[in-house]
């Protein structure tokens, strides 16, 4: 592999974390593998906080007119919960797996910019800490994770929570943009010999495309954030209608970021599942080209749908119709992936390992979330369901059912590579079923609550029929859901000590990361074979039936028919 700048390879092995050098190694590392692990551990840490916030909300809501939490406390908690889960759990989880796996999957020894890589992580972490510092500075933000104006203006939110929120997001955004730049340049310039762009593993492809979303969307958020900060700190007038500003402009700018953001959270999870399902079906992904092309379609379309979050703002029938059309359109490339994943299984030899179970859970749950999303694109239906618990159902189905579930599939799939040991399948199965049942029971009832007229972001609700019962059911299910996470933590803890030794390729998978040892040495690869197809290891193991021969056979067959 040619690098323009010579990076000296270390001669000593990586010191154990328990030695004196261990901690400093982590703090000063520019090794993408260690940075990836740090992202993942950070995600787990903030997950505990975010789940605690969720549990407090569920306790408050388990019966009508409850007074476990004051309205002020509840409002800070739901705001922090949303911000935490999106920016401090899902984002680092996805960035972590990408940072860890992307170079390995393209046969590279490092990311293109190792120091930028480290910087991205640490500034992201700083952003997260600043968000929680607001707790000690007068109050956490309490205006919702999308912070609508003019509620977020100083006149209506005089505590510093919103300012901390703004600065926190600015810093975390810099981290995301840095990571995205690294992914793009690494993918473009550091592929090992033979990997063409249309032969990238789908996870790499998704992360690559996703990075363009990050590069284009976060700056729009930054513009909005600076504007609200300037309004608050320098008495500007951007979003204050009395002095010529426009509260609705905040919504346009925020959702101009916000909608691409949800695809930023979804695409890598699609990539993970696109790796896991083929391996555990023992055949290639069905319709690679369509899946790859559909992600490009999603990337482009996602910039044209933002105002579907604003159908109730009263922007007019024509305006609404345009965004209804674009939102329905974007459902198509998202939907076809579901069919492709299922078709991968059919005709295969399916192994229901825990990673595969999570991948299949994504297929089912994300379909539910995606369908409720399509419901919202039908504007009159949106007029009924927006800002109710139906939306809360939708977002949790796509974000937990989609992104988080994909993350667990990736965790079970790549844990052996990262640590050298297998996660316990026994604990894994318990984890999975409690997770799947707990999640669906907690959140499916939210669809009904929304249809029954319960608005979102309410610290309590009146004692109208079924509201109390459904909320109580959800709270109890949330406890079951929570137990599943305890099982996951235990699985990690147990397997790090007693897990079966994994070896290079415990799953008999076919992408390049499985070529090297588990865990990889600091220098990922000494040698990488010439790559001729999407599944280099399949080609190596099946010299009589390599992918590239089959692809050529198809081309010859086509030519023969002409």
């Amino acid at each position: 592999m040619k690098l323009n700048i010579h990076i000296p390879e270390p001669t000593k092995p990586i010191p154990d974390i328990r030695t004196g050098e261990g901690l400093l190694q982590w703090l000063s590392t520019v090794d993408h593998k260690l940075i990836g692990i740090m992202y993942l551990c950070t995600a787990l840490f903030f997950f505990v906080l975010g789940f605690g916030e969720a549990l407090m909300m569920r306790i408050q809501l388990m019966r009508p007119l409850n007074n476990f939490l004051s309205p002020e406390a509840y409002n800070q908690i739901f705001t922090t919960h949303g911000t935490n889960m999106i920016f401090l759990v899902l984002t680092p989880m996805l960035l972590g797996f990408a940072t860890y796996s992307l170079p390995l999957m393209i046969g590279a020894n490092e990311m293109a910019f190792p120091r930028l890589n480290a910087f991205s992580y640490w500034i992201f972490l700083l952003g997260g800490l600043i968000l929680y510092a607001s707790f000690f500075a007068g109050g956490m933000p309490n205006v919702g994770w999308f912070s609508y104006a003019p509620l977020s203006e100083r006149f209506f939110s005089s505590t510093k929570g919103v300012d901390y929120w703004v600065i926190s997001l600015l810093l975390m955004g810099i981290g995301s943009v840095g990571a995205a730049l690294n992914f793009v340049v690494t993918t473009l310039t550091m592929r090992t010999k033979g990997i063409l762009m249309n032969q990238l593993p789908l996870f790499v492809w998704m992360v690559f495309i996703n990075s363009f979303l990050i590069l284009a969307a976060f700056p729009v958020l930054n513009a909005a954030l600076f504007m609200i900060l300037i309004d608050r700190q320098f008495d500007a007038h951007f979003f204050v209608s009395a002095t010529g500003g426009s509260p609705v402009m905040w919504q346009h700018l925020f959702w101009g970021f916000g909608h691409p953001e949800v695809y930023i959270l979804a695409l890598p999870a699609f990539g993970m599942v696109s790796e896991v399902i083929p391996v555990f079906s023992r055949k290639p992904i069905f319709g690679y080209e369509f899946i790859a092309a559909s992600s490009v379609a999603i990337m482009l379309l996602s910039f044209g749908v933002w105002a579907h979050h604003m159908f109730a703002v009263g922007l007019g029938t024509t305006f609404n119709a345009f965004f209804a059309a674009s939102s329905m359109l974007i459902a198509v490339p998202t939907g076809i992936k579901i069919f492709n994943w299922i078709a991968t299984m059919w005709g295969g030899s399916v192994q229901l390992k825990t990673a595969m179970l999570f991948a299949l859970a994504l297929v089912v749950n994300f379909t539910i979330g995606g369908l409720s999303g399509v419901g919202f694109s039908l504007v009159p239906v949106d007029w009924r369901l927006t800002d109710t618990y139906f939306v809360v159902a939708h977002i949790h189905y796509v974000l937990i059912g989609g992104s988080l579930t994909g993350g667990f599939a990736a965790a079970y799939y790549w844990f052996p590579k990262i640590t050298g040991r297998m996660l316990s399948e026994k604990i894994g199965k318990w984890h999975f079923w409690l997770y799947f049942i707990g999640f669906n029971c907690t959140f499916f009832v939210f669809h009904f609550l929304g249809l029954l007229g319960m608005p979102r972001r309410v610290y309590t609700y009146p004692d109208l029929p079924y509201l109390g019962t459904l909320n109580l059911f959800s709270t109890i299910s949330a406890c079951v859901f929570g137990i599943s996470f305890i099982l996951f933590f235990w699985n990690i803890f147990y397997s790090l000590r007693h897990g079966k030794i994994a070896g290079n390729n415990p799953w008999n998978a076919w992408t390049l990361e499985w070529l090297t040892s588990s865990p990889p040495q600091q220098k990922n690869f000494e040698k990488v074979p010439l790559v001729r197809s999407r599944r280099p290891l399949w080609d190596m193991l099946h010299p009589e039936d390599p992918d590239w021969k089959r692809e050529n056979k198809n081309k010859i067959k086509k030519k023969g028919n002409e």
Binding site: V185, A217, P219, V220, A223, M227, H237, G244, G256
Partner: protein, 183 residues
């Protein structure tokens, strides 16, 4: 293509979206705020035009610095790079004095929505120019100290991409803000 230059291209592309959002917001707020007519006379097109010429010239000088480098004329390369920095500083000086003048006239970021949009858009551009100047200065110092062994060192060419970007953004901002006020 070189890694560093690709990185700079995508970074600059990303920042373009930032300025795009600010420019669209500026256009929106300046027209709907209801204060355009009374506020636009604060803008001094002639004066800002002169400093604009300085900034645009700095793009030419950095291009000439690049040409010198390719012709292996290290001395000319350093001189053109220094000229670029000086021209950039002239632009910053112009911006700063304009801000001071407006401040004295009580035209501030909090005066009205036009003021908010104007100072935010031009301010962030100025900030990007300042950062660019800092980078160019560091590159010049490192060149003078012989830190770059190969002639094709990408630190300079990447910085040049950023500098051209900063210039291009100013062309748009100047047109939208100053020339746009004429309409």
């Amino acid at each position: 293509m070189n890694k560093n230059r690709i990185l700079m291209f995508f970074f600059v592309g990303s920042e373009s979206f930032f300025f795009l959002a600010l420019i669209i917001s500026y256009i929106y707020f300046s027209h709907t705020g209801g204060v355009l007519s009374e506020s636009s006379h604060y803008l001094d097109i002639k004066r800002t035009g002169i400093f604009t010429i300085a900034l645009l010239s700095s793009s030419i000088t950095i291009f000439l610095a690049d040409v010198s480098l390719k012709r292996l004329n290290r001395k000319a390369h350093r001189i053109w790079l220094a000229a670029t920095i000086i021209l950039g500083l002239i632009f910053i000086l112009g911006q700063t004095t304009e801000y001071l003048k407006l401040y004295k006239l009580n035209f501030t970021i909090s005066k009205n929505v036009f003021g908010s949009a104007f100072f935010t858009l031009t301010g962030f551009h100025g900030l990007h120019v300042l950062i660019g100047l800092l980078v160019l200065l560091i590159v010049l110092i490192m060149i003078n100290n012989g830190k770059f062994k190969t002639i094709e060192h990408t630190a300079f060419s990447s910085a040049a991409i950023y500098w051209h970007f900063v210039d291009a953004v100013w062309i748009v901002v100047f047109s939208v803000v100053y020339l746009g006020a004429l309409i």
